[in-house]
């Protein structure tokens, strides 16, 4: 019988997958924004994510809220330990949101260029910081016997986390480019097609570098797979999904390419979970005692049961309105008077 702590871990994992797939593409569109040269193209790309980006961001609120409610000790350690980093993340999220909303509200060229730059750099910063945080959670951070963070800001900028940060930027850029190909036609579509191949190339490069880095320097990430070799199915599936993206792009099936790109992202998050479960935050000091796991960081079982009930009632609603919004705004983007 599976315990409530693990169940809640899977719920957060599922929300994490939804977040990386959904906000992943709109962050990627942001990262590519400045490569579009004309105002019309930029508006088309902006409007492809316009109706959905804020709904996508709800998922990270669910992830963070889920950790806060279910694993408060991990929340306390991570959010205090990553304080400065998270302030950068918040600033980037605020400016990104404002840039999307404000950009097209004024005709001035200076105004629009300024917000274009803000939008693009904020999107890249969000993707990078998310990767940085994930990388630090894989590598581990110094925690004392009370499981409090005892490093400083620069300790979070190690080579492995920075590599994961770059990888997540490349992953989202590729995912965003494929999304744009799906949502555009005509001239804009032709431009995006040129980006996709480059984006895939960059992503595959970073993917291999970070895979080699993980295998060589983070042996704890593959321990579980070595114990149960059938789990090697997951990295193989991830590899297959990534090569399916290349194949579908070549055949100009952007819909299928997007599905495989989403599957790759989901599998990468699952690989992270397979490597770290049941640890949430690895400690570099005395890992067996000081690490935060889903057991020593959890709320009481009663709280977790209530949370599971709330999720069982609430999540179908979130899925339903999400699906509805995507249905309303399906098809290729058309610019109108009320567009972004």
């Amino acid at each position: 019988m599976i315990d409530v702590q693990s169940l809640w871990y899977f719920v957060i994992g599922a929300a994490m997958i939804s977040y990386t797939i959904l906000d992943g593409f709109d962050l990627g569109v942001g990262a590519l924004h400045l490569f579009a040269k004309t105002d019309e193209q930029r508006r088309i790309f902006l409007n492809s994510i316009g109706p959905v980006w804020d709904g996508n961001e709800v998922w990270i609120v669910i992830v963070m809220g889920g950790v806060f409610a279910g694993f408060p000790n991990a929340y306390a350690t991570v959010f205090s330990g990553f304080y400065t980093l998270l302030m950068f993340l918040i600033a980037a999220l605020i400016f990104r949101a404002v840039a999307i909303e404000f950009r097209s509200k004024n005709e001035s060229i200076f105004w629009r260029k300024l917000w274009d730059i803000v939008f693009s750099f904020a999107s890249i910063l969000v993707a990078f910081v998310l990767g940085l945080i994930l990388g630090n959670m894989v590598e581990g951070i110094p925690l004392d016997h009370r499981q409090d963070y005892i490093g400083d800001f620069t300790d979070l900028l190690g080579p492995y986390p920075v590599m994961i940060g770059f990888t997540s930027c490349a992953l989202f850029a590729m995912h965003g480019a494929i999304y744009l190909a799906m949502k555009t036609d005509g001239q804009a579509h032709e431009i995006v097609r040129k980006w996709i191949n480059k984006a895939i190339g960059v992503f595959i490069f970073f993917y291999f570098v970070s895979t080699i880095g993980t295998l060589k320097y983070m042996p704890h990430m593959v321990e579980r797979m070595l114990e149960r070799p059938y789990l090697f199915l997951f990295p193989l599936l991830a590899l297959a999904a990534i090569f399916s993206i290349v194949y579908q792009v070549k055949k100009n099936n952007s819909g299928w390419a997007f599905i495989f790109s989403s599957i790759s992202i989901a599998l990468l998050v699952i690989l992270f979970g397979l490597g770290t479960y049941p640890v949430i935050v690895q400690s570099t000091i005395n890992p067996d005692q000081n690490s935060l796991t889903i057991y020593n960081a959890a709320s009481s079982e009663k709280t977790l049961q209530i949370l599971l009930l709330i999720v069982a009632l609430g999540l179908p609603l979130v899925f339903a309105y999400g699906a509805w919004v995507y249905r309303i705004f399906r098809g290729k983007v058309r610019l109108e008077k009320s567009s972004y």
Binding site: N73, A76, T77, S80, G81, Y83, T84, M87, A91, I94, F95, V98, F102, K105, N106, R146, Q147, D148, Y149, I150, S299, S300, K302, T303, I306
Partner: protein, 308 residues
């Protein structure tokens, strides 16, 4: 945090922690519903006075007259309704404070010494050094509003240990500013409705100009109300359970907190300026003329030819 309920304290290897005992007791803790209503009514007021402000501006500038008149009617009636409900909600909230957070109530009205016929101050200032309040007082009003009995004394700060006092001057002033904002809003809504019925509102330019700037009043009330609720519950972060000083994270330093507060202040000042700039443009642009019968030029021409 203000009136904790539905939980108990459990000892763990890392120290005591609060664990849930009843979900519904926690959600419907003694102050949650009063707070929710109070805040929602505050939002209604913000919306209503925003509409009133824009409508008054259009009436002053003789633009979009028809739409502005409907906006004014809707805005004023909604404002009056919200103001009356807010009075009831405020009374109810204050009674919850009296029951669960007596030190906060004492600070809200600057009651240092427990005495019968406890008064309410209309306005004034707190002399924290000599522990007195210089103000225009209504004797017995606080006793009456709290207990329905003008003679019964309301417990003062002298019944609270000195190290559990909030900052009295700040709590007192923010609370009184909030109440004063309510009074101004009520006065404006009342005058607006009165002249509206007499059909002379458009001629009272001083009132219309007041209305244009009245959009600030609910905002000031909300910020001050929030401040007095949070300053007034100090030194507790979880009332009577955890002191704010004990709730601070050990892995961050003061510099990080100052840095982040500075960042938020800068970002929000910037965004506020941009917001005002864009909103001002939008208001000046006005609604798209969807209905030809609302042609303003035509309306102005007609009104000019009419004997005034």
């Amino acid at each position: 945090m203000q009136t904790p309920a539905g939980s108990h304290i459990v000892q763990t290897p890392l120290g005591p922690r609060a664990e849930i005992t009843s979900f519904w007791e926690m959600v419907f803790n003694p102050s949650s519903m009063d707070r929710l209503c109070h805040v929602l009514l505050g939002c209604w007021l913000t919306g209503a006075f925003f509409v009133i402000s824009v409508a008054a501006y259009y009436l002053l500038k003789q633009r979009h007259i028809q739409i502005a008149k409907s906006m004014m009617t809707i805005g004023l009636s909604f404002a009056m309704l919200s103001l009356v409900l807010q009075l009831i909600s405020g009374d109810s909230s204050a009674k919850v404070v009296a029951r669960h957070q007596p030190a906060k109530l004492a600070a809200l009205e600057g009651v240092y010494k427990t005495a019968p016929n406890t008064p309410i101050s209309v306005f004034g200032w707190v002399d924290a050094k000599n522990e007195t309040v210089h103000s225009l007082k209504i004797p017995g009003a606080l006793s009456f509003l709290t207990y329905g009995n003008a003679a019964k004394p309301v417990p003062g700060l002298d019944q609270v240990p000195r190290d559990e006092w909030p900052n009295v001057a700040l709590t007192f002033q923010t609370y009184h500013i909030m109440v004063a904002m309510w009074s101004f809003m009520f006065l404006i809504a009342l005058l607006g409705i009165y002249y509206g019925f007499k059909k002379t509102l458009e001629k009272r330019r001083w009132l219309l100009w007041t209305m244009v700037f009245s959009v600030l009043l609910p905002h000031i009330a909300q910020q001050c109300g929030w401040a007095c609720a949070e300053v007034g519950r100090q030194p507790w972060i979880v009332y009577k359970l955890l002191r704010t000083s004990e709730g601070v994270s050990t892995s961050i330093v003061a510099g990080q907190v100052i840095g982040s507060i500075t960042m938020f202040v800068v970002i929000y000042c910037l965004l506020f300026a941009l917001f005002i700039f864009l909103l001002d443009r939008k208001i000046k642009h006005g609604p798209d003329e969807a209905f030809p019968e609302y042609d303003d030029q035509l309306y102005r021409d007609i009104t000019k030819t009419m004997p005034s």
